[in-house]
Subunit: 381 residues, 4 copies
């Protein structure tokens, strides 16, 4: 594909994800971690306007002087921003306004791409990967918005959850030794993957399959959410304070487990891998099994020997810089480094991850209590 | 007008107020006291469905079984409800759904009204007065939603604020004596007005005009927001904690006061009566002037001798039951009585009050810190 | 008694109330409304130092330059103060330090009183009445501190609760008419009592006895705390949020009601008047009985015809200024006026009220949710 | 020393640390992380009563049935506990009561130790190391209690801060290779040190000296607290929300830096190592220098080649289990494992660490925003 084609392929995918929504669905923000879909549509566009067009497109005129304020996410270097909890309070710009904004920026981008040098192409590649990350967030946020509405509306027929399947159970052994970890620096990568380095990894066995709903129901039935010995202290506080008794989107109705998915509220499929669980829950489940979660290094070592890509897999590794990590200068340097405290690494990819966006060196990360993303459990023993 | 015509006149007014909105404007709830416009549209309809059609219309079929949960406001007797802070998180039912709901209920109501007895007509009259109250809230909430958007969008050309004018200054004297206060029980009234009773009122003088923006600017310039001696202790805490420095919607730009109104951000009109002030501010302003606010009894005594209706006028009276007050049985008994603690009475009416909705015995009430309504100050000396 | 003797009588009473305490009891502040006893001891002394000695005693040297900051309560005019929630975090000054402070100020006061004019004597009278108010608060706060300790320690043998007794039930009728309400301005009074004025009061009947524990147990048993129809909306929120199921200090142990008192945890005495209830509870109880609470005017009208003084009696009157109320100039003007919003009036006195401190025009006031004071219910029908 | 002598040596050290306190100082809890000194005295005693005497001492009678509830810290397996924020609200048991409790348990322990087997001796060793940890916390908490009192009282003459000195600056190089990390399992160790394992460590240089106050003043002067590029996102939120502008206990008075220490408020000693800084601050300082913090593995590798023991040194390592880590069964298994999320490792020891309590494999840990402990910065380049 040409740069133009690649650009439009990603941009149109974003809009396709939203095509099943009602206008009202674009606006709301039920919790702070969820952003309104219209904000994602604007923010990914703002990224190209701010970091590409403003810098590289001659005589570029901003679409609207107020959008910089509305659509900046967390780039402190790029100026004031609407604080995150306010996003769901903004009815304007309207959805139509934002689609006009997308058209406007797309046109300017296509023009720029006609004669773009490698510096621009690199930035555009970053921008497209950034937009793919927001595509995944759009899936999460849409599910949250619809799944927390008391009417439990379905998203529609065409959705990703139909691809969610388990693997055959089994165990793969990995030998002890010094391994090279991290990205080799070819092709696209994020700054947090770089700094390929040696890590000594001990012998271990890892499961070929993710933990299933069936196994997780057993955990619940055996009192897993009531036995503090299985939990981190902070995890136990979270369970008690939030009244957690099951994964997100699970509802016990007349003794039967139901689950909200993009098709609406349905009976739980016991054979599917368990999803929408927090790190606290993944850890407690592993403790209950007498096993543990893999480190991100162990995961990378066996990544060519197990199938992955259904759900992001919690690792026991905290999200920390690799040796030699350094932030890029300027606003883009804020991309990853400043989040490297109090988060856990997840490896792999999920059914919501854009095609071509995943790598075995990819380091995803979330706070230990979050679970609105497609997260799952792979055990090590 | 026939009952049918009256019914449709009120119902269509509600929709006309919303006709200038974008769909997105119907959805958001920037603070807890503001409700999304689509919620008002649904709730006023739910009122007729629940208290009229469900009881009096033979074989009436509910439009949607889930709406009872979504559109109940605070009637504990009428079942579970979406807690108030959640209203802005609901993208469904959509605006279109709610207009269909209105059509459906309107049809059923018109049919019922064809042969309605006095019990039904009384309930409908209550429902229409209830809807008129929500029309006024719609004006407040729409202003808040647009006026707190960083893009400061205008509402449009046709709006109520163009009617806001001051009166000529002057003073009216009232003699001491025992007066009859409260509604005589003819025509429509709310339960909180009833219980006409004697009150001894001392001699006083009351202003013929509301306090103007010009006078209020002087209060600010003289340090009114920095002198705790003028404020209630709770008012002073509110000023400090919220960083209050001016009425709601006022912005000091380059040394000049601007004000957001339905026409957008404009230069402050000094001759208009000051509006969007809290009870705390009204009290502090009066203290600064060396005067005071009227009691609700004083206000009622002189109500035929001063012009009112521009802004709700804060009184120094707490919202308490009149002698002999008793709640109606059932859910409608929750209408007023249960709010009779920790609120202040406002008297009169405002530019946002529906035609025919005001009376000189009408008792409006708000918490002392609220100011998103059209509230103003009339002084007594 | 001479001024000197009166002064020392009040001052020593304060210390006698504390004499049963351990040093540790003087220090803690379990909730924001409770102050550490050592703070009361210091603050009442600071009052004399700041408003009497600093102004009227020639060459008076402050005991400690830092105490002004530590012992100011809410007098904004008197300078910065330790915010209320911090009082329980201060281990210094020690209890011994504060008793030395009292000795020092007492000496200076006694010397000043030898040749005091009427201006000083008036201030001292205010200071002593102020200290008597803190004596009552000391009783409340000590009970709270000991009664919320998991070991339930007793205060000791000599305490006020032994005086708490009920009256014979009965009803007194009062005729309609215009009555004079408020203090006549002779003897000592607080500024909020002044402004004697005419009030029209309707005919009513009032109970000669306060509501008993026995009646209140019936209210609980009949589901009073679960029926929202009996409650203010804010009261119902309070019941649900705080999980209120009984008066403060009541514990249901094996189906029997026990109550913490100064003697420790004991079986509830059913014949005593119910105490430690909030306005919300008093209102709900009256609603359950099909009766109501008196207004403060009704209370004053019959105050010579019923026995009172066991418990402060909640009235249905909000705490508002009497006609013509004006604040005294300076810091002492902050005494009452600035609290005249969002509080309810209580009339009478309690077993914790100092001898000679009560009058039938006395206006006590508390927020509607508070109940650590000795509050009770008298019904009107 | 005999087991008896060792036991009494540690126990008496705890009391000696408190000997300079006033009784009131034992009671307060100014923030949630600080515990009242009397609670430490009771809790360390409760540890011996619960885990040693109750299990191993024949016919042991508990000192008081309510103390189990009061003095449990976070051992969920050991029953209900006073929630942490309540500790400062408890005036009882008194300080004298608690010293009696200590005497009682000490007597029982000494008797038990006369014929103790290795299982008891192991438990006692754990109990004494536990008490030494609380000795260090006592130093922190006492400093916080006195240093946050508006009167800034001094602790007294005999205190640990006089030992705080810097080292000569310089750099030590460490070669790349696979190193053995963790405790060898001889002598006393905590469970989190165990699991000696291979780690590949790259070449690096580490400073022989901790960062000094002088260097840190330069960081402040150059705008370190205002440049978000230096901070983690969570760190920057913390700086803004808490208004952080300097290390804890620093006060800028008339342009000069003063610091509260056990001797009171004094001029800052520029040559001392900077202390009382959070992980966020340590990270930002290192970023400002263009350097970084060591990993805990790097630290352990060079621990025999640099002097340490003045201040706990923040590492860039998250607190995670070593390979093969498993919790001990029962309540003592809660000692460390359940805290292994969202905390950072500190290595070394501080002037407040008990003699004989430190090891180069010791893993201390705190949340990234805490700084009331003796924490400092050692740089790597």
């Amino acid at each position: 594909m040409s740069p133009n084609e690649k650009f439009m392929a990603v941009r149109s995918t974003t809009e396709r994800i939203c095509s099943a929504l009602e206008k009202e669905d674009y606006v709301v923000q039920p919790v702070v971690d969820v952003s309104p879909p219209k904000w994602h549509l604007g923010h990914t566009t703002w990224f190209f306007e701010t970091f590409v067009l403003s810098v590289h497109a001659k005589d570029y005129q901003h679409f609207h002087s107020g959008y910089d304020y509305v659509f900046n996410s967390y780039y402190e270097n790029a100026g004031a921003r609407v604080i995150r909890t306010d996003r769901g309070n903004l009815s304007r710009p309207t959805v139509d306004d934002i689609f006009l904004y997308r058209r406007y920026v797309d046109q300017a981008m296509l023009k720029l791409l006609e004669n773009a040098g490698s510096d621009v192409l690199d930035l555009v590649q970053l921008g497209l990967n950034h937009e793919q990350q927001h595509q995944e967030l759009l899936w999460y946020d849409i599910k949250y918005i619809l799944g927390h509405n008391p009417l439990f509306p379905a998203y529609g027929e065409n959705h990703i959850e139909k691809n969610l399947k388990g693997e055959n159970p089994g165990w793969v052994r990995s030998e002890a030794g010094v391994y090279e970890i991290g990205n080799t620096g070819e092709g696209f990568y994020f700054d947090n993957e770089l700094g390929r380095h040696k890590v000594y990894v001990r012998e271990f066995e890892i499961s070929t399959a993710l933990v299933t709903n069936k196994e997780y129901v057993e955990f619940i039935a055996s009192g897993g959410y009531r036995d503090f010995n299985l939990w981190h202290a902070e995890g136990w506080d979270w369970v008690k304070l939030q009244g957690i008794k099951a994964p997100l989107y699970w509802y016990e109705v007349d003794g039967e487990w139901q689950r909200y998915g993009y098709s609406g509220l349905e009976k739980l499929d016991l054979d599917q891998p368990v999803s929408h669980i927090s790190y606290f829950e993944a850890y407690a489940f592993a403790a209950w099994k007498g096993m543990r979660l893999p480190t991100e290094f162990e995961w990378e070592v066996v990544s060519s020997r197990v199938n992955w890509g259904m759900l992001w897999e919690w690792t026991s590794s905290a999200y920390l810089p690799y040796p030699g990590f350094s932030k890029a200068p300027g606003a883009l340097g804020e991309y990853n480094g400043k989040f490297m405290v109090n988060q856990q690494v997840l490896r792999g990819a999920s059914i919501a991850t854009a095609d071509g966006h995943s790598r075995n060196t990819y380091r995803n990360f979330f706070h230990a209590d979050l679970r609105w993303m497609f997260s799952g459990i792979r055990l090590v023993r």
